[in-house]
């Protein structure tokens, strides 16, 4: 189907069946949200939960942190207009356009200058109603010298068959600030997802993004664009994907190195059980003395799927160091046999090898976050 027709089949999230608070959700829904990290046993500095078009939880535990629904933040702060739609244009495509025209809220999160918010802030964008298109706009600002760890979990009601999610996100990482942003997605096999993300990193700032999607989804297409505009800024992107039969996942990552001594690394690990996967990565050197590395590895588990790895390196200067490494292959027979000799069935062996393959140690992400990613990996069925 043509991209511009996709949205027409869905109704507004404002018509959703939205409860007043989380207690009205069914046990099954609560369980799913707990799995995604809305778990009172995990230490959190703040939480934001939106169901369809409505924010239902918005709270913070610590000083130096602000969390508001974006609609409220826009009313409260005039200066937010300097950030709103500044990294992305509403004209970019029909999804940004639709979000600009009919917004279903979103989050505004800000770490004030110098505050290091240690434990994660958890956000959750949840689609609860059949045939709904949820269009959110998020803004995150990490002020000078501040640190913020953000986990976003996106999911649908366990019984919703078909849904559409558009997330416009604009992230600002100021001088010497650090933002880690991790997305854990559990969509449904009929969900269409169009995240649109822009990131701006200033001098000595760092941005670390991790994207994990191991469950079936119908169609994801995204390509965050990250600009490193201050000297010494860094960005890293890691995506960990299990491409299930029937899923089409097209994930990119574009980093523009616009100041000297900026660095980036884009890593993707994809296991293809079926469906279609495209792993794109692009690094553009727009300043001298920059460094960038792209690594894209795919593991094919069947002949039913397609995997395309499309790395791209552009340089406008001679004094740069841009490299890429891409490999697509199958599980090595010796590895399976080795584990089988230890008493693992072929399925158990495969699942362990896949889990190992998807274990990317992302430098700089906090241990609590790594634990949560490990848990998702542990729970996902990764055998045949």
């Amino acid at each position: 189907m043509a991209e511009d027709k996709l949205l027409k089949e869905f109704k507004s999230a404002k018509e959703g069946n939205i409860p007043k608070d989380l207690s009205e959700l069914s046990e099954e829904e609560k369980e799913r949200l707990r799995f995604l990290g809305l778990d009172s046993s995990l230490k959190r500095e703040g939480e934001y939960v939106q169901i369809d078009a409505k924010p239902v939880v918005c709270r913070k535990q610590v000083e130096g942190l602000e969390i508001l629904p974006i609609t409220e933040a826009l009313k409260k702060y005039d200066w937010l207009s300097d950030y709103y739609w500044k990294l992305l244009s509403p004209e970019k495509d029909e999804f940004t356009k639709a979000t600009a025209e009919d917004l279903d809220d979103g989050y505004f999160i800000r770490a004030l200058p110098g505050y290091k918010i240690v434990y994660p802030v958890q956000t959750c964008l949840y689609i609860r109603t059949e045939k709904v298109a949820q269009k959110v706009h998020n803004i995150v600002i990490v002020e000078e010298g501040a640190e913020l760890n953000l986990i976003t979990s996106c999911s649908v009601h366990p019984h919703v068959e078909s849904a559409f999610h558009i997330g416009v996100s604009e992230f600002f990482v100021k001088k010497r600030a650090k933002l880690t942003f991790s997305m854990l997605h559990v969509w449904g096999d009929q969900t269409i997802v169009r995240p649109r993300t822009g990131v701006l990193v200033e001098e000595e700032g760092s941005y670390i993004s991790t994207y994990v999607s191991l469950y079936p989804v119908k169609d994801i297409q995204t390509s965050p664009v990250c600009r490193l505009v201050g000297e010494g800024a860094k960005a890293s992107f890691a995506s960990i994907i299990a491409n299930q039969p029937g899923s089409k996942i097209d994930i990119g990552g574009e980093v523009w190195l616009e100041a000297p001594n900026t660095r980036t690394e884009i890593i993707s690990r994809t296991v293809v059980y079926g469906g279609e996967n495209i792993a794109r990565g692009k690094i553009v050197a727009k300043a001298p003395k920059v460094k960038g590395h792209l690594e894209c590895q795919g593991l094919m588990l069947s002949d039913e799927g397609i995997m395309r790895a499309i790395p791209q390196l552009d340089s406008y200067f001679y004094d740069v160091e841009l490299t890429h490494e891409a490999a697509v292959g199958k599980i090595a027979k010796e590895e399976v046999e080795y584990l089988m000799a230890r008493g693992l069935s072929e399925d158990e062996a495969t699942s362990l090898i896949v889990k190992g393959f998807l274990t990317v140690k992302v430098e700089g992400i906090p241990p609590t976050l790594q634990k949560q990613i490990d848990k998702v990996l542990e729970t996902a069925k990764l055998g045949f």
Binding site: A332, E334, E335, E337, Y338, L339, M340, A341, R342, G343, L344, S345, E346, E348, A349, L352, I353, K355, G356, F357, L358, T359, V360
Partner: protein
């Protein structure tokens, strides 16, 4: 005395090449047998065939384990029934730690992985990616540790001493003793072993019950392992060919 492993007239091909030509042997419960033989004579092939790796195709003959015909079972079914093997060149598995494998090897065996690793000075390796950058000696220790956790009734060891330094030889000897219950001589023994060796080192640590010489895929001689080893040292494998015992 009951028989743990029995091989009957086994013919095996690898990549269309005959590597075993009519091997027959019996290992009773609690016994350890050793195999000698030239490079390329078929020793490793025999062990791999007992474990059931599909590259080694059985053309003729049978393998019985605990009385059951296992000739057509896949490796994990054999592992489940109590056969364990030490790999000479195990693969690196990306992102998988030694600890992850040990946990799975343990299955329902209630082994204290931590404690066991510590007792062989190997606890720092638990968090390492399995076999990645392991030295020759470290591979041996890692393999033996996995076997100790798996706790098989029949242990297949392929040159456990090769590439191990003098100090570690002793440690590896201890590990093999434990595997084969030779560290508790007063208790009835239920574990058996089949061990390939070139150096005979193992004979100093583990009393073996029987030795074989394999030549070009056939068992040339069977007998007291120490006598065989001394014989090979004296007359070489060439001498084995003219051995009177074989004619007898």
């Amino acid at each position: 005395m009951s028989v743990l492993l029995e091989i009957e007239d086994l013919w095996v091909e690898v990549e269309g090449r005959e590597v075993l030509k009519g091997i027959s042997l019996k290992i009773p419960v609690g016994e350890t047998h050793v195999i000698f033989g030239r490079n390329g004579s078929g020793k490793t092939s025999l062990l791999m065939t007992i474990m059931g790796f599909p590259t080694y195709k059985v053309k003729y003959g049978k393998i019985y384990f605990k009385g059951e015909d296992i000739t057509d079972l896949p490796p994990y079914e054999r592992a489940k029934r109590g056969i364990g093997i030490m790999f000479q060149r195990p693969p690196t598995i990306k992102g998988v730690k030694l600890r992850d494998i040990l946990k799975l090897c343990a299955k329902e065996n209630n082994v204290k992985i931590e404690e066991l690793a510590r007792s062989f000075n190997f606890e720092t390796f638990l968090e390492r990616e399995v076999n990645k950058g392991f030295s020759g000696g470290e591979i041996k220790k890692s393999e033996l540790l996995q076997l100790l956790v798996q706790n098989p009734d029949l242990v297949l060891l392929d040159e456990p001493e090769s590439g191990v330094d003098v100090e570690n030889l002793n440690l590896i000897g201890q590990m093999i003793k434990k595997l084969l219950q030779k560290d508790t001589p007063h208790k009835p023994r239920t574990k058996s072993g089949l061990i390939i060796t070139h150096t005979g080192f193992i004979l100093q640590h583990v009393a073996a019950d029987l030795g074989y010489v394999i030549m070009e895929g056939e068992i040339y001689c069977t007998g007291n392992p120490i006598e065989i080893f001394e014989g090979i040292q004296k007359v070489g494998y060439e001498g084995c060919k003219n051995c009177l015992k074989r004619l007898a």
